[in-house]
């Protein structure tokens, strides 16, 4: 390594601070907007810190719409679907990792990567028409199953890469001791890959919580809306102002930021060591 000189270190620190400012500035601004009164938002020049901070916009958000209900819907569907996606991809990822027939394995993997080229919009109408014919439309559990399907390809790729890193000798040893494949997976392999599982769960949670268009298409009762759908409906509804919208955005960001904050280490490890290996 070449030692860095003092001016160079100062330059690096400044650049790092600039990136930090750019990263948190927008979030700060939305937060400040959400605790300003409606009058103060439209004062020019802008105030960078609210004169009379108030939680009024949050109160309005929850009384103006059934936002609490939507939040609960989103939390439930995201938690359940991410957990299911994690279970399914542990199974498929493990099988793919240990599958011996190269040619078949290559094709299966390719078909998983292919899903990444598919625009959600081309799936939406066929899903809508099929599900409505079967009377399965406007159902949160059904939407949850669709969500599992939308993340399962990428989750499987992640899971497979995790299992690839674990030597097969580990489970072979367990099998010599009399474990079945399933038993060795649960008792020997999974405990070693807990970080990987956390990464898959967080990745699925973030994607599912943030999904907008499938929910718009597949749900129509007001009480079944999810948070992104509610925000979307605010745009068109007259009378919603930026203070309430900002409060909505902040609430919508909290769960994924929480998941990211807790799972950051695993997500980073999962994404980098896992799916996109060097």
């Amino acid at each position: 390594m070449i030692k860095k000189s003092l001016p160079e270190r100062i330059l690096r620190t400044l650049a790092l601070l600039l990136f930090l400012l750019l990263a948190i500035g927008p979030l700060y601004w939305i937060f400040v907007t959400s605790i300003k009164g409606p009058k103060e938002i439209y004062t020019w020049p802008l105030r960078y810190w609210p004169e009379n901070p108030t939680l009024e916009s949050y109160r309005k958000l929850f009384s103006f719409s059934s936002f609490g209900r939507y939040f609960l819907n989103s939390i439930t569907i995201s938690l359940c679907a991410s957990f299911a996606a994690m279970m399914v991809s542990v199974s498929s990822g493990f099988a793919l990792s240990r599958y011996k027939v190269k040619k078949v394995k290559g094709r299966l993997l390719l078909s998983l990567y292919f899903t990444q080229t598919i625009p959600t919009f081309i799936l939406m109408v066929p899903l809508f028409t099929t599900l409505s014919k079967m009377g399965l439309i406007d159902s949160l559990p059904m939407l949850g199953i669709v969500y599992v399907a939308t993340v399962v390809a990428f989750s499987t790729i992640m899971a497979k890469s995790f299992f690839d890193r674990i030597p097969a000798s580990l489970e072979e040893a367990a099998m010599i001791d009399g474990c079945s494949t399933m038993q060795s997976l649960f008792h020997v392999i999974l405990p070693v890959t807990l970080p990987g599982m956390a990464a898959i769960f967080s990745f699925a949670f973030i994607n599912i919580w943030n999904e907008l268009f499938l929910a718009v298409m597949l749900l129509f009762s007001d009480e079944k809306m999810t948070v992104p759908v509610a925000l979307n409906s605010f745009i068109s509804k007259a009378g919603i102002s930026w203070d309430v919208m900002s409060a909505g955005i902040i609430i919508a960001l909290l769960p994924t930021m929480l998941v990211f904050g807790i799972g950051q280490k695993y997500i980073v490890a999962g994404l980098t060591e896992g799916s996109v290996k060097g």
Binding site: P26, L46, S91, A95, Y99, Y113, L127, V146, G278
Partner: protein, 294 residues
């Protein structure tokens, strides 16, 4: 051993079922719809019409397909290039340890977890023509005399949505490239230093070749995601003003949610997939990657 292989096959079943029922079959059906007259207001008249949807999508003068295609290209290339360069710069800055790097990475990378839609709303507010923060900063620093409508200006709208998208994408590249950079063995740099390679030379002869696989897979994945997730544009401009930020994906949203013309919407979807498929094959061939190593 045969029973073991069967266990593996059995373990693939849940994922395979989900993918077949909710992804592969619908995509097939969607692709079929692209060759049908499939309008919500004219459902009794559902029939195959060959390439009519594609011809309509491409030649209808009201839609200005070439402009949309050009917008898509600008949107993808502009976003990808800036996301990559800034993400790479950030990763380089963060490579050597410093005090509080863990906390720093949490703060600088959090945007990764946010939704494109919420980010679009956030930036729509930042770029607001009357009370936006960007205007305020520009006016205070004397660059502007009076507020500018960034999102309503045909000249500035595309740049504005790209800025929002770049902001969203820097963390992804930052995370990926940082991990890749940290995997470069230190001896390689030592050897290069002994050979008299300067910092700049090291970057191109050691660092970039070593992390090339990560660069290729991240840029490829990101391209697909940028094309297929129009949430930011949808929230900020929804294709406007006068078509200036309309890309293939937003046009598809309009076809489906506004005009209820599923046939033409599906035709655009097929066009996106064909373009992406051609792009991915070409890209992988050019970067001559080994099979199954994506």
């Amino acid at each position: 051993m045969i029973s073991e292989r069967n266990t593996h096959r059995f373990m693939l079943v849940p994922a395979a079922l989900l993918l077949i029922l909710f992804i592969y079959l619908p995509v097939l059906k969607g692709a079929t719809m692209a060759f049908q007259s499939y309008n919500m207001f004219d459902l009794s008249n559902l029939h195959f019409n060959g390439f009519e949807n594609f011809i309509n999508v491409i030649t209808n003068p009201d839609i200005r397909f070439l402009q949309i295609l050009g917008n898509t290209l600008v949107w993808v290339v502009g976003s990808l290039a800036l996301q990559f360069l800034l993400g790479f710069l950030l990763a380089m800055l963060m490579k050597d340890p410093f005090k509080g790097r863990g906390l720093y990475s949490g703060l600088v990378f959090y945007a990764w977890a946010l939704s494109g839609f919420a980010i679009g709303l956030t930036w729509a507010w930042l770029f607001n023509g009357q009370f936006g923060l960007v205007n305020d900063i520009f006016i205070r620093s004397g660059i502007l005399k009076e507020p500018v409508g960034f999102l309503s200006s045909p000249r500035l709208a595309m740049i504005s949505v790209i800025i929002a998208n770049v902001w969203y994408g820097i963390p992804f590249f930052g995370i990926m490239l940082l991990a890749a950079l940290q995997s470069v063995p230190g001896e390689l740099y030592e050897a290069a230093t002994i050979d008299g390679a300067g910092r700049f030379h090291q970057l191109f002869s050691v660092t970039i070749p070593y992390i090339r696989p990560t660069i290729i897979s991240t840029t490829l994945l990101r391209t697909m995601w940028i094309i297929n997730f129009p949430d930011i544009i949808y929230a900020m401009t929804n294709g406007g003003p006068v078509n200036r930020t309309n890309i293939l994906a937003t046009q598809m949203i309009n076809k489906i949610f506004k005009e209820y013309d599923y046939g033409q919407g599906a035709a655009i979807g097929v066009i996106i997939m064909v373009l992406l498929f051609a792009y991915a094959s070409f890209y992988l061939k050019m970067s001559s990657r080994k099979e199954g190593d994506v």
